[in-house]
């Protein structure tokens, strides 16, 4: 590459905004970390960008990628636009009735999330389609006009339109949209067949309403950000991280802001899989453990499982079903209430329990000596010798062993344990909780973790990685370098990619292929246009088709690959064979003779994977020198354990467990029976020898 070229990534988190600039020629990353400012984070972004440029010509930036939690936070904090809904007569309450269920069967006092649109702003119009799309009752246009009057009087800034069966026939929604646009030219409009063309009125309406609710805010924010970057001289296309692990243009993000909703942790997941793959591991359990939560996702051959049944703004953060449902493709990730700050306490059964309550960053664990009195995972890790009181965050913060001991003693007293056993118990319990969550997550997806490698990131990840791995029967752990900016780095790995879906329930044997060909054609045309809009050349566009299929009578669909091109008579056999193969892989056996039906037809249209060659990593130099030695308690017993600094370990270095490797962002704990080596990419590879 003769010319200078750079990629810019901007990752806005709750506390910090990370800006990373990558020099294509050298692979070197420059990093700026600035405090996230609210309510307008574009200010902090621009500040960080200026800092990271540091003499680099803005014109040399060829791509900018941005990940933001703006949409998620707006939904959690209910800071979106005042939104109205226009619904089919008889169905304005779909949004409130939901699925008629409770997410916790023992809690009489449970709270359901309030719908984003209050009942008086949910207006009905006469229109009705049959499930196949034929008109039962034509759209009553006067009703739409009246609905606009009600909504205007109600002072709405955004309007959602969601009619029954509009995913099959969008005519009524389109006509209603035209009328609303002409009568209310200043409001944003979201229409269900475009936002989420999927069967199930509650979920589709919920998604459409959420899209409308956040749209005005996202539009303003992204316009400001684009302008700001232009002022700095950055003219490269700005791409926005989506929750499916891909990215899109600003125009697309503004049309479908709800697709950004769970994009926050995607960067980290992409980075973890990338690091694992670079070391030759194709089946990855990416495991990130921070201060408050741990996240886990499975990846095979660089791709991730996607779920389209996501939710946002849960009433209880770790309670599935307590949020607003969204039909948005998201990386299928779990979040567990387990982090360094997780508090140990006694349960109603008098047994020691850890989390999900967290001491957070303030006051933080007792050992921070900032007033926290309650024992946390970090306190236990310190007492067990895993953490170095003098080298936490590279020595920026001295930890207090005395404060940790006092807090753990209190916990030991009411659980009837001694200090050491209590500390060990806290460490083991949090490992068990995380391993259990990962195990059930894998089981729910029909995945056997045997043969997977665990990629550990986050401040507490490498401390707990081997303990979690052993509980999962995993005997390979990878600790990538410079985990601190992994998430921002991961944004650069996101290709342009957008997903489409249409619902058409049909048995494979009785498929109307014309209709399916039409659906696929529409989706692919739309997708190509959108990817082109992000500056991708036609020749580089990739299309992947899948269908959600099941045996007739089952309630759960599986994702089945569908060949490209027009479906013909011979395709029936291909679809059946593809279903059989997918089903067998998941469940081990087929149900001979039971007909198969398809429910949803999906397309992903994407640009090329960004080429990211080696990130500048460790040199060959550096020794194997032991930095120090301390007593560390493992489940096998107490060991005098050698302590190393990661930045002094060169490629090819080999350590025998027990050992501790310290770096600024984290500490890697290598238990007895494990061996570690530094591979060519700079990853620490931990292998269990006694497995």
């Amino acid at each position: 590459m003769s010319e200078e070229a750079y990629t810019l990534a901007i990752d806005i988190g709750g506390t910090f905004t990370d800006v990373v600039l990558r020099d294509h020629a050298s692979g070197i990353l420059s990093v700026a970390k600035v405090l996230t400012q609210s309510p307008d984070p574009s200010v902090s972004v621009l500040k960080g960008v200026k800092e990271v440029l540091n003499g680099v010509s803005p014109g040399a930036i060829v791509r900018a990628v941005h990940g933001t939690t703006l949409v998620t936070n707006a939904l959690i904090e209910r800071r979106g636009a005042k939104t109205g809904l226009i619904a089919t007569a008889g169905f304005r309450d779909a949004l409130e009735i939901g699925r008629e269920g409770r997410y916790d069967i023992y809690d009489l006092f449970l709270k359901l999330p309030e719908p984003l649109v209050e009942r008086r702003l949910r207006v009905e119009v006469r229109e009705r389609l049959y499930a196949r799309g034929e008109v039962m009752t034509p759209l009553n246009e006067d009703d739409v006009v009246k609905a606009c009057e009600v909504l205007r009087e109600g002072g709405v800034d955004a309007v959602a339109i969601a009619f029954l069966h509009a995913y099959v026939n969008p005519d009524h929604e389109r006509r209603a949209e035209e009328i609303v646009r002409s009568l209310m030219p200043d409001v944003g409009i979201s229409v269900s067949h475009r936002v989420a063309a999927e069967l199930r009125e509650f979920e589709r309406t919920s998604t459409t309403v959420a899209n409308a609710y956040v749209q005005p805010m996202v539009e303003k924010y992204l316009a400001r950000l684009e302008d700001g970057l232009k002022v700095l001289g950055i003219l490269a296309p700005l791409h926005i991280m989506l929750s499916n692990g891909g990215s899109c243009s600003v125009q697309t993000a503004v049309r479908f802001p709800v697709r950004l909703v769970e994009s926050g942790p995607c960067g980290g997941a992409l980075a973890a899989a990338h690091y694992g793959n670079r070391s030759g591991y194709r089946q990855i359990l990416a495991f990130d453990m921070g201060g408050t939560t741990a996240k886990a996702i499975l990846s095979e051959n660089g791709s991730f499982p996607i779920t389209t049944e996501s939710e946002v703004a849960r009433v209880y953060r770790f309670k599935r079903g307590s949020g607003l449902p969204l039909l948005v493709p998201v990386l299928d990730m779990i979040e567990i209430g387990a982090g360094g700050g997780s508090i140990a306490h006694a349960s109603e059964l008098g047994l020691p329990t850890v989390g999900p309550q967290s001491a957070g960053a303030d006051p933080g664990p007792a050992c921070y000596a900032r007033g926290g009195q309650l024992p946390t995972v970090t306190d236990a890790d310190l007492l067990l010798g895993y953490l170095n009181a003098g080298y936490f965050l590279g020595g920026q913060m001295e930890l207090s062993v005395d404060c940790a001991a006092d807090a753990v003693d209190e916990f030991a007293r009411f659980t009837g344990l001694d200090r050491v056993r209590a500390a060990q118990g806290i460490h083991d319990l949090v490992n068990e909780n995380m391993a259990n969550a990962a195990r059930v997550h894998a089981a729910e997806r029909g995945i056997d973790l045997n043969g997977y490698a665990l990629v550990a990131t986050g401040g507490a990840g490498p401390v707990h990685a081997c303990g979690v791995a052993m509980r999962l029967g995993i005997d390979r752990v990878i600790v990538p370098p410079a985990a601190g900016v992994g998430s921002a780095f991961g944004l650069m790995l996101a290709p342009i990619a957008f997903d489409y879906v249409r619902s058409l329930v049909s048995r494979i044997a009785a498929l109307d292929r014309e209709v399916v060909n039409k659906l696929y054609g529409e989706m692919e045309d739309e997708g190509r246009a959108l990817v082109r809009e992000a500056g991708i050349d036609d020749s580089e566009i990739r299309v992947v088709r899948t269908a959600d299929m099941r045996y007739v009578g089952q309630g759960h669909e599986i994702s089945v690959p569908v060949p490209l091109g027009k479906l013909t008579e011979s395709s029936d056999g291909t679809l059946q064979a593809a279903f059989d193969a997918s089903y067998k892989k998941l469940y081990g056996r087929l149900c001979e003779g039971v007909p198969v039906e398809a429910i949803h037809w999906r397309v992903t249209v994407s640009g090329p994977e960004p080429e990211i060659c080696d990130v500048a990593s460790v040199g060959d130099a550096g020794g194997q020198g032991v930095e120090g030695q301390r007593e560390v308690l493992f489940s096998e017993g107490k060991y005098g354990t050698a302590v190393y600094r990661r930045d002094k370990l060169g490629k090819g270095a080999v350590l025998q467990g027990p050992a501790i490797v310290e770096e600024v962002e984290s500490t890697t704990v290598l238990p007895p029976g494990w061996v570690l080596h530094v591979d060519d990419t700079g990853n620490l590879i931990l292998i269990r020898e006694d497995a």
Partner: protein, 567 residues
């Protein structure tokens, strides 16, 4: 654990592991299941048991219908086939209502687990079968013989070989043989996953069995439950509710006796069993008794044999809550779902801040069958919920199931697989009982069938005569209603032909209120009016709150209205 001590940490770790294992078991089962109510609504249970058949842990699934019925059921298996008489690869099953969960549709599969050649425990699960022969799920039968195939406890697998004779009999008796048999395999797959994971855990933690662990888990849970019961003042608390019944009203009478650290529920005085399929076997009564008690008293204590020990449930033989063979039991939930109400009514005298008012309770089950426009036969069944009772401190939840955990089905899903058309699904204003906290609203559904032929509508509905009651001064919720588009009122448990072009309206009841409506904050009354949940007239009549045409509270008039009521 035999052979070594387990400290508190290890107990918590192992306990969590068992819970994780049963959740994996349930996940495997749900994935492979054919039956929509199993998958979508979680109408299943899965659990792990010690050698003697004590339930140690149960998966978190959708509905309490099977909670503890499975626990009691496994004892019968252990008695019939002690674990040492079985071999690896054996598996047992039954759907006997009196041994299992109260109707033939629920099939329980129980599998022994062997570690190093010795039986260490059992995995069991219960699943709702798609069909079991007989007259299809409903309340109409007069004897259990009419309701389908009854399989006594027997082997499903012998050393890994399926029982071919049994499968042939099942196939010959059910309407959807592939799917019903497919579900049996799914049930076995779930137990197998549980067994594999348990063996891995035994290896990992260097244990030879789970007997010692079992004792610790059960004793801890029992002690914690007793502790929770001891917070209730000793006494005898009584209540009764009236239900529509099949063709004549029923009374459920409950006496809750709290004695120090144990609790007895006695249903003496409840109506006798009837000659239609709404009778409840003792196991099911026990399940729907312990479930609401747990919600009110000890929601955070895990479900296992130990947590049930402090609670005794009795019902006289031959009463509708301890119905005797061979009575019909198909729609037993129509009675069982109401048990929480006299229990909460009784407990409201002791712990009023921990129970909720009556709700719609029994799910409204709608079954429609006939011939569609294309000539294809169809049968579609779905479940719908009315309003939950109001709660101390909060309004009841609208259109949400309790005590059942079953979820509703989208109109679009119903219409895409059947000719049933749902013309309306809406909350019913003014249907929630007035109170300091308002009952949840009921919902209205209008249904027709897109066909040139009449369709058979089987109704399984209740609380059309006796309204869900308010608690502590709260008003009753609104009764259910059922009528045709020509105005004809229909009986709530009948079957009739819905004619082409005709529609039927279901109005599912609202929940009862909690506390005096005159104590309700007028601002909340206003909000209900603004959001069209309450009419201006009802605000005035039921709450004593005057609301102006500009949607403001008329403070002075409200004071006068409420003053008058107090006098």
């Amino acid at each position: 654990m035999t052979g070594r001590e387990i400290d508190a940490v290890e107990l918590e770790v192992l306990w969590n592991r068992l819970i994780s294992i049963v959740n994996e078991q349930a996940a495997a089962l749900m994935h492979a299941s054919f039956t929509t109510v199993v998958r979508e609504a979680g109408d299943l249970s899965a659990g792990v048991f010690d050698r003697a058949g004590n339930m140690l842990a149960q998966a978190v699934t959708g509905t309490p219908g099977h909670i503890n019925t499975m626990a009691n059921c496994v004892r019968h298996f252990v008695k019939a086939y002690p674990i040492d008489t079985l071999k690896s690869g054996d598996s047992l099953l039954t759907n006997d209502p009196w041994l299992g969960s109260g109707h033939l549709h629920d099939i329980t599969v129980v599998t022994p687990v062997f570690f190093r050649g010795r039986g260490v425990g059992w995995f069991a699960n219960t699943c709702h079968a798609m069909d079991i022969g007989g007259r299809t799920l409903g309340a109409g039968a007069r004897q259990v013989y009419e309701e389908g195939l009854n399989i006594p406890i027997m082997k499903l697998f012998s050393e890994g070989e399926i029982n071919r004779d049994l499968i042939a009999i099942v196939r010959a008796n059910v309407r959807e043989p592939d799917q019903v048999v497919g579900d049996l395999y799914a049930q076995q797959a779930g137990n197998d996953v549980g067994a594999v994971k348990l063996l891995q855990a035994l290896e990992h933690y260097d244990l030879v069995d789970i007997e010692g662990l079992s004792t610790l888990i059960l004793d801890r849970s029992e002690a914690a439950t007793r502790e929770a019961i001891s917070e209730i003042a000793n006494g005898v608390y009584e209540d009764e509710v009236k239900l529509d019944g099949y063709d004549k009203p029923l009374v459920i009478r409950a006496k809750v006796i709290v004695e120090d650290r144990s609790l007895i529920v006695d249903y003496t005085g409840t109506s006798p069993q009837v000659d239609r399929g709404i009778n409840v076997v003792y196991n099911y009564t026990h399940a729907y008794t312990t479930y609401p008690l747990k919600c009110a008293i000890s929601p955070h204590i895990p479900n296992n044999e130990g947590s049930f020990r402090p609670i005794t449930v009795t019902a006289p033989e031959g009463c509708i809550l301890n119905a005797q063979f061979p009575c019909a039991v198909g729609a037993r939930h129509l009675v069982g779902h109401f048990l929480s109400q006299p229990l909460f009514g009784a407990l409201s005298q002791a712990i009023p801040d921990r129970v909720i008012a009556d709700g719609s309770a029994g799910l409204w089950n709608t079954q429609l069958e006939g011939i569609g426009r294309t000539g294809e036969r169809f049968a579609y069944i779905f479940f719908s919920a009315g309003g939950m009772g109001a709660r101390p401190g909060d309004d009841g939840i609208s259109a949400t199931a309790f005590p059942s955990g079953i979820k509703g089905v989208p109109a679009e899903a119903i219409e895409s697989v059947s000719p049933v058309i749902m013309h309306r699904r809406a909350l019913i204003p003014d249907s929630g009982g007035a109170g300091t906290f308002r009952g949840g609203l009921g919902q209205e559904m209008v249904l027709s069938v897109d066909s040139d032929y009449p369709a058979l509508h089987s109704c399984m509905y209740d609380r059309t005569r006796y309204a869900p009651r308010g608690f502590l001064g709260g008003r009753d919720g609104r009764c259910g209603e059922l009528f045709l588009s020509d105005g004809t009122v229909l009986p709530p448990k009948g079957r009739y032909d819905l004619q082409p072009g005709q529609s039927v309206t279901l109005r599912i009841p609202g929940g009862g209120g909690y506390g005096s409506p005159f104590e309700r904050d007028p601002k909340r009354v206003l909000e209900d009016v603004v959001q069209e949940r309450l009419s201006i007239e009802a605000a005035r009549d039921a709450y004593g709150v005057a609301i102006t045409v500009d949607f403001e509270v008329d403070v002075e008039e409200t004071a006068v209205l409420r003053q008058k009521i107090n006098e």
